[in-house]
Each structure stands twice: as structure tokens, then as C-alpha cells.
Assembly symmetry: C2
Homo-oligomer: 354 residues x 2
Amino acid sequence: MATLSDVARRAGVSPATASRVINGSSKPVTDELRERVLAAVAELQYVPNAHAQLLARSHRSAVGVIVHDVSDPYFAEITRGLQRVATDQGRLLMICNSYRDPDRELEYVELLRGHQVAALILAGSGYHDEAFTRQLNEKLAAYGATGGRVAVIGRHEHSGDAVMPDNRTGGYLAGRELCELGHGAIGVVAGPRILTTTTDRLAGLRQALAEQGRDLPERRIRYAEFDRDGGAEATARLLDADPELTAIVALNDSMAIGALATLRARSLAVPRWVSVIGFDDMPIARDVTPALTTVRLPLVDMGVRAMSLVLGAEALSPRVEVLPAELIRRDTTGPAARATTGSAPRARRADTAS
Amino acid sequence: MATLSDVARRAGVSPATASRVINGSSKPVTDELRERVLAAVAELQYVPNAHAQLLARSHRSAVGVIVHDVSDPYFAEITRGLQRVATDQGRLLMICNSYRDPDRELEYVELLRGHQVAALILAGSGYHDEAFTRQLNEKLAAYGATGGRVAVIGRHEHSGDAVMPDNRTGGYLAGRELCELGHGAIGVVAGPRILTTTTDRLAGLRQALAEQGRDLPERRIRYAEFDRDGGAEATARLLDADPELTAIVALNDSMAIGALATLRARSLAVPRWVSVIGFDDMPIARDVTPALTTVRLPLVDMGVRAMSLVLGAEALSPRVEVLPAELIRRDTTGPAARATTGSAPRARRADTAS
DNA sequence: TACCGCAGTGAAAGCCCTTTCCCGCAGGGA
DNA sequence: TCCCTGCGGGAAAGGGCTTTCACTGCGGTA
């Protein structure tokens, strides 16, 4: 690899001058030398060593991001928002997938700190795990103490800046909607119970039922992975235990899609026999059939806000921005089925009747 | 930020010794000093400066990846394959989204070269654009000349190692299937015509029709963005121009989902009135309703192969691995509708009849 | 004429690590 | 007793870049 001094030698100038030309420094350089340097750069196919540059500049410019998985639509949308702001400000993003592994999360904080990122954004659910939470907070505090900025998205265990989707109200909206549609037996397809996202959404749901003087017994909840297969499997278990269910709340859209798959496999028409509500409103939600009723979260905006917090002026006290959830009514919800026969039909092709 | 010499000073040892302890060097260090160093590291919350490390070690270990968009399921799957191999070998991946912008692609090659990556993988379609292709090849050659390894996925304009999905055969399979089902008027919802992926898939399709003594006129093809909205829009244009269409081939699954949306909006039952075939078999394909018939590409495997090529022994001549396409029959295809009334029905709820 | 200021350039001091090279010392063989 | 070996540790030389600082001319002012 050609180095800066190779370029300088070839152009017959000092490395200092070459550096100035290449980086468009404010220091003036005569046109002749500039030409010679640029020619040498082209001839040698010179590309500056980024590590050396980053080392030499004290300037820290990149921003580190830790998410569950960028290819999960929930995080893809958030990341889109993060990127938008970062790109506008000429920042590079380093994105790490933790796959919801707390240890990996901790490791990535160190890794990113080692890479001298100017700021750190953690997106995703928090954990009901005191030891881990404390460790993470210590690491973040240590990072903050050296001038690093930190923001979290959707996790309240952190003491600094945060952007919070209103998961609780979202759960409430889903619950109220189903109550209003007359559903009595409501099952919940939930994510891992260790995640605060799961418990927050559940709490909202419980509240809605409580307002009707009803409760949500544990036997009507099944916990599984927060993805399509988890949703499919949890729905199957739920139906096995309680065939009278007339509605299912899935705690995210991926799980809802899994739920629809299971319902279809069992020929339980949606929404005729069973209503389904998802959560998040990821883009695919409108394209499944029937189109998914869901609770929308402003995902892109959450990313935008978080990045703005972290790149903007530092506040004296931690800022928490709560972003609202909104119910999007589509075609997977309807009035509770009349308890006529007392059990869902076995018909094979009933799945999309209205 | 604490530095290595801070740690060394605090532990009362030289930076050399501290470095050896921290990196688990093979040089022996007495337990006492080791303890002191580790204690200092913990107290100072020391994290090595990654840039300084990377600069000091000549060792290049990271691998650069350029894709269209990691959150696009096609690339998400490929990336999963890349990750798997990279992680096994303790390599870090630097993933860049080019969003199919040739200039950005060129920039990222430089960026990654500057970051001293050990290898470079470009995934996605090539372009019918001689000037760009030449430029890219020059840059890659320059990189290769300094010891960098390069592999491409799904682009044949490159002279080095390559993993190629068999797009042409895939197109052929889709075409043959529709011919066998008796479809006469076949429309194509295609990606941008500048992409080789588009033209390769089209070529296979043409070949299948040619074997039946038929051709694929340009008026039966609509080019649009390779995503859901592109597919929806292209399908609308196609149907406007040619209401007699009985089948649509979408050149990727995202477009197919868009096509299904448009067909649903127009109350054209699938597959009763119109059959649809997608391409890629991304995970969501089985979850839309009706489940999408599509041409499967071994996406994860493509990633695995490419990473293996690039991290394995260097070959004397460039290797090209062609991975097969496979038709997956699901529920969006069926026999061509009898030309009874001569036009599709207006019924509103016919969309999932079989 | 002496001096000041400034544009343009280069020398060199970092930035923070890793790793080679070298040194002191203790133990073992002759 | 002397020498060789090998272990444990430190000094210092990079690794490639940026940036400060010092220097050289030059035009302009007093």
C-alpha cells in the first residue's frame, strides 16, 4: 500500500504539504504543488490509512449503534432514522447486532468505545436483569465520563437521554379495541418475559381489561421468541389450551404474522372466528392478507430523535422523549364471533371470509 | 480516555509489559505483575484504542462488505451467510449500504481499502454501464495488487472470484412453469433495466417462451424499482395496458408482494384470474396470502461461499461458483383462467378463491 | 532603509499501540 | 569458577497520518 510519504516523495514535496492538499486543509498551497500531489495520488492509487488518520486526529466523528438485528424490520426502520440524521451531519455509523445477547451487548459497548466513537446509541428492549443492567450502566457511565454521548431507544433502565415508544399505551389501545369489539377470551402471544418491552405492552393491555373489570390470567399468555416462528408456536400452544379464544394480541408484528400462519393452518378464519392485533406496524403489515390491524410506533422518527439528541447540544439533565403509539385498524380485527356452535368450524377454506 | 501508559504507570510497569498482559501475548509475565496490570485496567476502565492497535499491528483482519441494503431481505440473508463464516474465523465485518448508487459503491471501495480490510465482498447486481464497470474493476485491481482479496456475489462484470446465483435458469423455470399451466399472456414486473440481474432473469424467461415458439414483447414488461412499491406500480401499468394478462412474473419477491397488493386492490383473484411468480424466496414469501410461488435462490449459502472463497487459500485462476435456482410451488400459481367472459370479474371478494 | 506581516513550505512532534531487540539475572553444566 | 541458556522485563523503534511551529522570501508600511 502506498503511503503518504510515497506520495510526497513522488510529488517532490513534504508529507505535510501532501497531507494539506489531500485533506483540503485551510492552509494555502500553490496550484503547481497541488497539481503534482494530486497527480501522484492518482498514479499511486493512494488511499489514506483510515486508522492512522483517526489516530492522528483527536476528532471523534463516528457514532456507534447497538441493535438487536438490523435486518429485523423494527430495527431496520429505526436505523433508517438514525442514518438519515447521521448522514446529514457527515457522520459514519458503526452498527452492531447484539442478537439480544446481553454479554454481546456489553462487549460491543467496549468495542465501540475502543473505536473512539463520538456517541453511542442502544436500541431495543431493556432486560429485567439487575446484574446486567448495573454492569451496562457502569460501562455507559465510564464512557460518558470521557466525553462520550449516550442515548437509548426503548429502554428505561438507563439514566441518560432516552427515546421511549409508548409501549404501555400501545398495549392499552389494543386491549380497548378488542373490548369494544366485544371480545371476551383474549389470548396474548408475547415476546420473552425478560424484556421490558414485553412487560410494558402487557401492562397496558392489562390496564385496558381492568377498566372493564376483567383480568388477564397467565394461562392466556404464551411467551416465545419475538419472531415469526415464535408467534406461530405460541399461538398453537394458546389455541391448544384454550380453543374458545376469539382474539389474539401479538406483541409484535412478526409474531402476528406467525399467528396468522397458525390460524390459517388450523382453518380458523380471521377475523371471522379470531381477531388478531399486532404491534409496531412494520411495512409488511399492510401486505399480509388480511391486512394486519396493529399498533403503530413511529420507528423512523424514534431513530431521528435519538440521533439528534446525541449529536445535539448536551443537556444538563437527561432528556426522555416519549413517542406516542397509535392504533391502525385494518382487516384482522372484527366483532367477536357469536357463540353459536360454541366452537370454531373445521371448514378448510374459510380463512378469508369477511 | 485512559491510555496504555496510564495503565502501565499505575501498575508500575512498562507499557510493553502492560500490552503483553492485556493482549495475552505469548511472552511470559509473572503473576504478580499481571495482577497489577489487570487491576489498573479495571480501575481505569481502560479500553485499548482500536485505531492505534490496528495501526501498530500490520495484521489486517476485518472484511469489508458492500451490499445494496442490509435490511432488504435478499441481502439480509446473504449477509447472514457472510457473518456465519466470518464469525467462525474471528473476523469483523464492515458492512456498507450502497443503495444501488454506483458512485457510492466506488466510494465505499476506497473507504474500506482505507480501513485496511483484508478482503472485500460486493454483493448485488452488476450494472450495464461500461464506464462504471471499468472504474470499479480498476479500483478492485488496485486493491488486489496490494494483497487484498476480492469476491463478488451475483455480478459477472468482475474478473476475480465470484458466486453467481443462476438467475437465467431461475427465469427459465418461472417461464416454463407458466407455459405448462397454459398461460398465454404473461406480463413481467421487472427491476431496473440497468441491472444485470434484471436482464439475466428476463433472458431465462425469454428462453422458456422461445422454446414454445413464443416471444416476450417489450410491451409486456414494465421496469421499476426492485421493491414493493415498484412492483405495485409496475403491475398497475401492466394491467392498464393489457387487461387480458393471466400471469405475472415479478423479478423479485418484494415486487411480487407489490403485485399482489395491486391485484387485490383491483379485485383480481390470485391465482384464479391472475397467477403470480416471484423470485428469491425471501422468508416472507410463505406468509403472504396466498403463499407466493417463487424461484428460490440459496441466499445464505451464497454468502457462505463468498466468504469462504475470500478467506480461504488464494487460487491461481479466478473461481466462479454457480448456485442453482429452484422453483417453489405455492399458492399464487394455477392454470390459466378459461377465456369465458373475456375479462376479469369485478367481484370484490374473489381474491382468495381457489 | 529597516521592519513588519504574511503566504507558502518543511521539520518534527505527537496520536497510542505493538513488537523487536537488548539487558540483567538466576540456574545448570563443564 | 566460568560460561551458556533462558526467562522476565524495559527501551525504543516504528506504524501512517495531522498539525504545530519555525523558517524563508516577498510586498508593503513607517
